[in-house]
């Protein structure tokens, strides 16, 4: 099974207080920010790795190709994904400010056409843009089905068909789909038994780890030798333009930091209603 996993480097959400807006309000400045893999993409990568390995024997039985559209520096993020077990990477160079979900989806579609994977597994959104559309637009451009918010993925025929459970606000939807397909995942995909590929023994349980597996030092060293291909948007024949333009960025107003002590639950509810006006 061959899986394409799009990943993005984002400003570490734990350092969000360092995010600044340029003086003219046209963009978010990125100096001094720490970067990490978009957490939703970490889940997708974990699902893809589980689909392409024998988890008990710790051996690979398929191929995961990472693709990142963004600045050259994203190579560190791609390497981290390779260190966790993916086979190779593709970086499509682009300035973050020239990209939106439409351009990203077009770039990913171009890479998918070259790579012909059995499926694409991706995060449902990024923690910076929060647009939540790239997966769906990509599926549309490829003419593939889109299955959003997968919480459980099973295949017993090496990725030709999938039984998927979707994590919805109203409950769980069970679907069957024939590949190739685009799947976005929810955090429940990290559950110890949420991915079954017919190779890893059915009773095998993955360890609980928020964010999926860790890269071992051995993996980190091996990742240095794994290939990362460099592409450009024009080289891939992508001429998509931004469909969304941002007019202005503003930081949310600073919190007052004022502390109010209350004596009882009733008083708390009262204050939340009348003073904080959040109820």
């Amino acid at each position: 099974m061959k899986i394409l996993v799009p990943i993005k480097r984002v400003a570490d959400p734990d350092n969000a207080n360092k995010v600044k807006v340029s003086a003219d309000g046209t963009q978010v400045t990125t100096e001094g920010l720490e970067w990490k893999m978009n957490p939703f993409d970490e889940w997708a990568l974990e699902a893809a790795l589980r689909l392409t390995e024998d988890g008990a024997a710790k051996s690979r039985v398929g191929e995961v190709v990472l693709v990142s559209v963004g600045p050259k520096e994203a190579v560190a993020t791609v390497r981290e994904g390779l260190a966790k077990g993916a086979e190779r990477g593709v970086i499509v160079e682009g300035n973050d400010n020239d990209l939106d979900s439409n351009v990203i989806a077009a770039a990913l579609a171009a890479v998918a056409k070259k790579e012909s994977p059995d499926l694409i597994v991706m995060g449902k959104q990024t923690v910076d843009g929060d647009s939540n559309v790239a997966g769906t637009v990509l599926a549309d451009k490829l003419g593939w089905p889109i299955i959003n918010y997968a919480m459980r993925i099973e295949t017993s025929d090496d990725g030709k068909t999938f039984a998927i459970k979707r994590d919805l606000d109203v409950g769980v939807a069970s679907v069957k789909v024939t590949g190739p397909v685009v799947i976005t995942v929810s955090d429940s995909i990290l559950h110890p038994e949420s991915v079954k590929n017919g190779v890893t023994p059915a009773d095998f349980k993955y360890p609980e780890a928020e964010g999926g597996r860790y890269a071992s030092l051995k993996g980190i060293m091996q990742a240095k030798k794994k290939p990362i291909a460099e592409q450009t948007l024009s080289g891939l024949g992508v001429d998509a333009k931004r469909t969304v333009t941002y007019k202005k960025f503003e930081l949310p107003p600073a919190r007052s930091g004022q502390t109010t002590f209350v004596e009882s639950v009733e008083e708390l509810v009262e204050k939340l209603r009348t003073e904080a006006k959040v109820l």
Binding site: K36, Y214, A215, L217, K218, M221, K224
Partner: protein, 378 residues
């Protein structure tokens, strides 16, 4: 700031350690310290994250070198904020190397691998009620009787000793330095008991124990190396132990500094933040200088060690420089925090107590100076 020897590889490793510590340690740091113990399962989780076997040879399931071990340990401390937990998790770093270097394949299989998989806990027992700095004063006796050694004596201040499954123990089989031998004593051996979990000033989340050996019969196959090889094995161990302790000092001070910067920017007095006072800013800058200097020397120690020319005297210089710096920085951190710095719920209060161990454990400040003076022939 990071160490000069670090590569992208170390950066990625730091990211793994940070993620692990943020998820698995930081939320419990205060509670574990107050409880005086962290859960045993943490060793397994740490092994699962690939962080427990760093710095050990691949032949026993490890990867990387002391530089990797040091940066991962720093990140665990910075993100986990619990010195006690980190030193407890790391007690095998002094217990296993003698077994790896001098032991047999069978011993490495039985004692080393399960510890590096996080299934067993290891401790090193040198110190006794009557012998600390003076290692040659070890009085715990081991007398050979057929295929066993009969061990009698006591050890104290043993990190992770209270729940250790295997204890690399220094015993006396003859006279003088050449009469010291290493035995692996396993939990459950009749006559071996962890008699007391000691109450101490800092390092609360890590257990520190008193051990007693009462006609404890240890199989001869648990002897590590030859009879009499104990002293040299311990001395070889001290170099890496002291570099690691110095690294902990840098990490502890760095954390105290970070906490202080954040506090100084938030806390207000006389109509401005503490960092609005030049005195505070200079204090923070001074702390930062000293951390940088100690970090540079620790880094040099690591690089020389990797090149094969780290002498015991250099390790002693590294340790003293780092401990003195850490003592100063943690003291200043408490000062910047004012009364809050004296309160248990503030991280710097804990770090101040944790820091006090470093000029004592792993060889005291005075013994380090003694070692340097001897090596340099004063």
């Amino acid at each position: 700031m990071t160490y000069l020897f670090e590569t992208d590889e170390h950066q990625t490793l730091r990211a793994q350690a940070r993620r692990f510590a943020e998820a698995e340690i930081a939320p419990h740091a205060h509670a574990w310290d107050e409880a005086g113990l962290f859960p045993r399962a943490l060793y397994g989780a740490m092994a699962g994250a690939g962080l427990l076997a760093l710095g050990y040879p691949e032949s026993v399931g490890g990867a990387g070198d002391i530089g990797h071990m040091l940066v991962a340990a720093e990140e665990l401390l910075l993100a986990g904020k619990s010195v006690g937990t980190c030193v407890g998790l790391g007690s095998h770093a002094i217990a296993l190397p003698p077994i790896i270097k001098l032991g047999t394949d069978a011993q490495r299989e039985r004692f080393v691998r399960p510890v590096l998989r996080g299934e067993k806990i290891a401790a090193l027992a040198i110190t006794e009620p009557g012998a600390g700095s003076d290692v040659a004063g070890v009085a715990t006796r081991a007398v050979r009787e057929g295929d066993r050694y009969v061990v009698d004596g006591a050890k104290t201040f043993i990190t992770s000793g209270y729940r250790a499954d295997i204890v690399t123990t220094v015993v006396r089989t003859g006279e003088g330095h050449g009469g010291l031998t290493l035995l692996v004593v396993e939990r459950g051996t009749p006559g071996f008991e962890a008699t007391r979990k000691l109450d101490k000033m800092g390092w609360w989340a890590s257990d520190t124990a008193e051990l007693s050996f009462d006609a404890c019969r240890v199989p001869v196959e648990n002897r590590v190396g030859a009879e009499g090889a104990g002293f040299v094995a311990i001395m070889m161990n001290f170099v890496t132990e002291r570099l690691m302790l110095a690294g902990q000092c840098v990490a502890t001070a760095e954390l105290a500094h970070r906490e202080s910067v954040a506090y100084a920017k938030e806390r207000r007095a006389f109509g401005k933040t503490l960092s609005g006072f030049q005195v505070t800013r200079h204090k923070l800058a001074d702390m930062s200088c000293r951390i940088a200097a100690a970090r540079a020397l620790v880094g040099e120690g690591v690089m020389r060690f990797l090149r094969g020319d780290a002498s015991p005297a250099l390790a002693a210089k590294v340790k003293n420089t780092a401990t003195d710096m850490c003592t100063y920085v943690c003291d200043q951190a408490v000062q910047i925090h004012g009364g809050y710095g004296y309160m248990r719920e503030y991280v710097v209060e804990r770090l101040y107590r944790d820091a006090r161990l470093y000029p004592i454990g792993g060889g005291t400040r005075e013994i380090m100076l003694e070692l340097i003076a001897k090596a340099e022939g004063y």
